[in-house]
């Protein structure tokens, strides 16, 4: 691993920057960690969801009588069991949701909008009985033509999915039902003048496929609706508080009467924020008075849960003879899926964010199509956008005969650069991420083989702050129980324990971190937006400071000196005349007499610090089959401060690999009826370890001034550059420009055959 380590002679931190074993590691590798599917409760029933076989249809009738009559069936849930929701918007921390749409997504009412759309659910004594009962539910459909691409959906005569969706066009609400939920525009400078000043202008169109997050663990939910009207939900989620809110709002239960217990989570990547099964399990439990567990299988996950959108993007960029970008324009239409809410906003803000561009215009469209409602996926919207911008830049470089790395350095966004959508960057590390590639052994090693090529691409992601809370109880033996509310997807328990230990000058082994349920910890927003190490990290830092203050106060009283004469430093309290007591000794005293020591931290930080990454990839393309073989891959990234470098590397490697899958083979493959034909991991081709070289990482540490330890989010931006970097490498290997994702062998071969004709 080519990590840039800080010189050992000047260690700034004792714990931060080390690589301890994760607190949850042993349970995970021995199989003892408890996931949602492991849950067994007394009297528990199994729930199975009936899903639509059609992509677009009116539901004329649903007859559950035969299913109800099957022995062992205990309850059946339909949309009507969820109280009617007004068109109310619920804020979910990261993003918001229209409750009526959420209700109709959880269980369809009178229309199915995608194949896999949930219609009904059965609770029965066994999963097999529930499955048989689902087959006995008679649904009468009136088939409607499916609308599968944004360009088709935007046509004036396209069948409309949602009668209540009317275009909000440049801020004005129109009143005709449409698949275009929103059209917005960002503008900066004088676009016409910008293109007039350009020596070279390149304009290209891109199509990217719908892809799934592909987490290993399918969605699951178990609910117990108590006789007192309190509901407990166990599930796999990125945000227990957002599940609590969605269940409470949908089911009209007071927020405080819902408890959500987050189980261990086998991946989320943005896809486990919205609820699917949780309200269904709750209804079935309410009807039966028993706990009900509902699990998805892989096909359910592909067909029924949020993928990230396919898109159509047109990008036009101009540069002057010196290689300075003079203008950039983008037209971007993103699939929302069945209901409005694609990540088009983020995509439009990211599309040119890596560069200092004086004149720009970006049009964004949020478009409904007959696919599952999209949800977040690692830097949502940014990967599609980078595919366009970063390959257009490559063509400009070719025309100007400029090195693509020099070109990017010349135009890189830096402190003070204004994005086209308005915000001005604070201190950021785009330049440093490029320089790290420029100085890498990889970049300096020329390629020599036939049909080999190198490509680079950069990417940006905002990261976010949001609310976090933590409490920490000091134990008599000098250990600390650290309780926080961020469900742990990427090793955050240990990353947080490290920041906590650093602040108190104790070891990470003294900290026992726990992710609590919604009754056990203060409000905490979702694990998303690369925010946990940043924001929850800050909350545990505050909790540590709270403890140090309590220890100081206690020792000042004991030593009978004014509190301003004692100080917490180096893992203990120091007072006048050489007085000193270590953390563990104070901890021991605290349980014997006086008040217990409990620290608290609550934060809502505002400066997450954006993340920039540059990736460099070498490929060899088989000219007879179009198959792309990755020879070498290096990812450099401004990571702020790497709290646990191995986890940071893991995030970068994981993101890069997901981006490689998106670039080369992954896609929702639909037939003309709108049925996904590849809803298995056999035919939905994510890369395996046999398809990849070791992803080399370069951690560039440009500390975020907006965090006590300089943390920036690191988890999302690494998915942004790979497809574009691969496209550029393929061009350099065999001379074909790929403008459609995935760049699968049939697509690359098609371009090669066209070129060789």
């Amino acid at each position: 691993m080519s990590t840039v380590e800080k010189p050992a002679s000047t260690p700034k931190y004792k714990v931060i920057g080390t690589r301890p074993i994760r607190h949850d590691g042993t349970d995970k590798v021995t199989g003892r960690a408890k996931y949602g599917a492991d849950l067994r409760l007394t009297g528990m029933l199994s729930g199975v969801v009936l899903r639509s076989p059609h992509a677009h249809a009116n539901i004329k009738s649903i007859d559950v009588s035969a299913a109800e009559a099957l022995p062992g069936v205990r309850a059946i849930a339909l949309c009507g069991d969820i109280p009617d929701a007004a068109n109310k918007i619920a804020e979910l921390g990261e993003g918001s949701v229209n409750l009526q749409h959420l209700r109709h997504n959880v269980l369809a009412e009178n229309k199915v909008l995608y194949r896999g759309h949930a219609i009904a659910a059965v609770a029965a004594d066994t999963i097999h009985i529930a499955e048989e009962a689902c087959k006995l539910i008679k649904v009468e459909y009136e088939l409607l033509p499916p609308v599968m691409t944004v360009l088709d959906a935007m046509k004036p005569d396209a069948p409309v999915l949602n009668a209540d969706v009317k275009t909000n066009s440049l801020g004005e609400q129109t009143d005709k039902p449409s698949n275009i939920a929103k059209h917005f525009r960002f503008e900066l400078g004088d676009i016409a003048k910008g293109f007039a000043d350009a020596k070279v202008i390149v304009e290209r169109e891109f199509h990217t496929a719908t892809v799934h997050q592909g987490y290993i663990e399918p969605h699951n939910a178990t609910a117990m609706w108590g006789q007192d009207g309190h509901v407990t939900v166990w599930c796999s989620t990125q945000g227990s508080f957002t599940v609590r809110q969605q269940v409470a709002e949908l089911m009209h239960v007071p927020l405080g009467h819902v408890k959500v217990v987050p189980m261990e989570i086998g991946g989320g990547f943005g896809g486990k924020i919205a609820v699917y099964l949780e309200p269904v399990a709750a209804i079935l439990s309410k009807k039966t008075g028993r706990p009900v567990k509902v699990l998805m299988n892989r096909a359910d996950v592909f067909e029924g849960t949020g993928p990230t959108p396919g898109s159509y993007i047109k990008v036009k960029m101009g540069a002057d003879a010196n290689g300075k970008i003079t203008a950039a324009e983008a037209y971007m239409a993103y699939e929302a899926g069945a209901f409005p809410g694609s990540p088009i906003g983020a995509g439009a803000m990211c599309v040119f964010a890596c560069y200092d561009i004086p004149n720009g215009k970006i049009d964004g469209f949020d478009v409904c199509v007959n696919k599952p409602r999209t949800s977040a996926y690692r830097a949502p919207g940014a990967t599609n956008a980078a595919m366009a911008t970063e390959t257009v830049i490559e063509e400009i470089c070719e025309k100007l005969n400029m090195c693509p790395l020099d070109f990017r350095l010349k135009n890189a966004a830096k402190e003070g650069t204004r994005r086209i959508d308005g915000p001005v960057f604070p201190r950021v590390g785009m330049v440093e991420s490029l320089e790290a590639i420029q100085n890498s052994e990889h970049w300096k090693t020329p390629l020599s083989g036939k049909n080999q090529g190198r490509g680079i691409a950069s990417g940006f992601w905002f990261n976010c702050g949001l609310k976090s809370a933590a409490t920490a109880t000091v134990n008599g033996d000098g250990t600390v129980g650290l309780v926080e509310g961020s469900t742990d997807i990427g090793g955050s328990r240990t990353g947080l324990a490290m920041q906590f230990a650093e602040a108190l000058g104790i070891t990470v082994d003294q900290v026992v971190p726990t992710v609590a349920d919604t009754d056990g910890v203060g409000y905490t927003d979702v694990t998303g937006g690369s925010r946990v190490t940043f924001a929850t990290g800050w909350a545990v830092y505050e909790a540590a400071l709270d403890i140090s203050r309590q220890m100081c106060k206690r020792m000042a009283e004991e030593w009978e000196v004014p509190v301003d004469q004692v100080k917490y430093e180096n893992g203990g309290v120091t007072g006048p005349d050489g007085k000193r007591l270590g953390f563990a000794e104070i901890a021991e005293k605290s349980v014997k007499h006086g008040e217990p020591i409990v620290g608290k931290g609550t934060v809502d930080p505002q400066c997450p610090g954006g993340a920039f990454a540059t990736h460099c990839v070498d490929v060899e393309v088989d000219p007879e089959t179009g198959k792309v073989h990755i020879l070498r891959y290096t990812a450099s990234q401004d990571v702020g401060t790497a709290i646990h470098p191995a986890y940071v590397e893991g995030q970068i490697q994981g993101g890069a690999v997901q981006g490689i899958g998106w670039g080369l083979n992954e896609e929702y493959f639909y037939d003309d009826k709108g049925t996904m034909r590849n809803s298995t991991f056999l035919d939905y081709r994510m890369p395996t370890c046999l398809d990849l070289p070791m992803i080399e990482t370069i951690l560039v540490e440009v500390p975020n001034p907006g965090h006590p330890y300089g943390v920036r989010g690191v988890g999302e931006v690494p998915i942004v550059p790979p497809p574009a970097a691969l496209a550029n490498a393929i061009y350099n290997a065999v001379g074909v420009r790929m403008q459609q994702l995935p760049m699968s062998p049939p697509r690359v071969m098609h371009e090669l055959l066209k070129k060789n004709k």
Binding site: E624, K627, D683, R685, P745, P746, M749, L753
Partner: protein, 296 residues
């Protein structure tokens, strides 16, 4: 998933009777790697699963002067661990080592792969290229069918009610013969063939001319195809890129693939030609190293 009964007969006659008595609602099972999954997803719902692994004839693996006998329940790993099969029936070893991962290979049988009759089955083109014959047991006794005539469509084959596959018989191989199987997959492992090609060649003693050749194609039609013409074009011809190119073109001409999530018509036809070139060349290389066979 519906409940089903399970039986594990120890003789061919017993198995035939069980299958016959259930009148089409019983399914024979060897490794079960296809069958169990199909039951699980509801594609088939048998009343009885007849486990044929306990029948001695179905576990035979014999190589001698009369050729090679592979019992229908012999799992892949037993094939690729056999050095003589690897030398003389290399295409079969190629296939057995790329079907699934190690766990699957420990159970999945070549016989089952044939009876599942998938157009993209990785072993069928090798069986056809090596001239294998299917020995089928049934209520009327045993019968034999050349493997190229076994499959009739996707998931369909010549097995009638009460019938099941007992073994695959391969003719003996001579010196200067070689065979190979390759598939094209977008990933490097754990994938299903977009195109699969098996070829077996017999060279003359000089190694410079083809005596005969058999070529078979997978995943480019509703069933695995025997490209008889392509093979004939090689017979008696010198070993050269030009002659193999002609065979590749003939093979490409009989491919009738479809557009689906695994590939396009254009791509599959193109890659059929590419793979025939590569596979025949590999079979030739192996033939040049084969100094003696098992033929008497």
């Amino acid at each position: 998933m519906r409940d089903f009964d399970y039986a594990a007969p120890t003789s061919v006659a017993e198995a035939v009777k069980l299958l016959q008595d259930h009148n089409g609602s019983a399914r024979p099972m060897a490794g079960g790697t296809d069958l169990i999954d199909q039951v699980r997803v509801g594609r088939i719902s048998p009343d009885l699963v007849v486990d044929i692994k306990k029948i001695a004839e179905l576990n035979v693996l014999q190589i001698g002067s009369d050729g090679l006998h592979v019992g229908a329940a012999v799992p892949c790993y037993r094939l690729y661990h056999d050095a003589m099969i690897k030398d003389l029936y290399s295409a079969l070893t190629d296939s057995a080592s790329i079907i699934g991962g190690i766990q699957i290979q420990s159970r999945a049988s070549i016989g089952g792969n044939l009876c599942n009759s998938g157009p993209a089955a990785d072993s069928t083109p090798s069986l056809i290229a090596l001239g294998a014959v299917a020995v089928i047991a049934g209520p009327q006794g045993n019968r034999e069918v050349a493997v190229e005539d076994f499959c009739t469509g996707p998931g369909k084959n010549v097995l009638g009610r009460g019938e099941f596959l007992v073994e695959l018989k391969f003719p003996a191989r001579s010196a200067n013969s070689g065979s190979a199987y390759q598939r094209f997959i977008p990933r490097n492992e754990m994938d299903i063939a977009v195109v699969g090609v098996g070829a077996a060649v017999q060279l003359d003693a000089s190694g410079k001319n083809f005596v005969s050749a058999r070529i078979a194609l997978g995943a480019v039609a509703a069933k695995p195809l025997f490209a008889a013409e392509a093979g004939k074009l090689l017979a008696g011809q010198p070993v050269s890129v030009e002659t193999i190119q002609k065979a590749a073109e003939a093979a490409r001409a009989i491919a009738t693939p479809i557009d689906d999530m695994r590939g396009t018509v254009e791509f599959r036809k193109h890659v059929t030609g590419v793979l025939v070139m590569r596979v025949v060349q590999q079979a030739v290389e192996r033939a040049l190293k084969t100094k003696s066979g098992n033929a008497p």
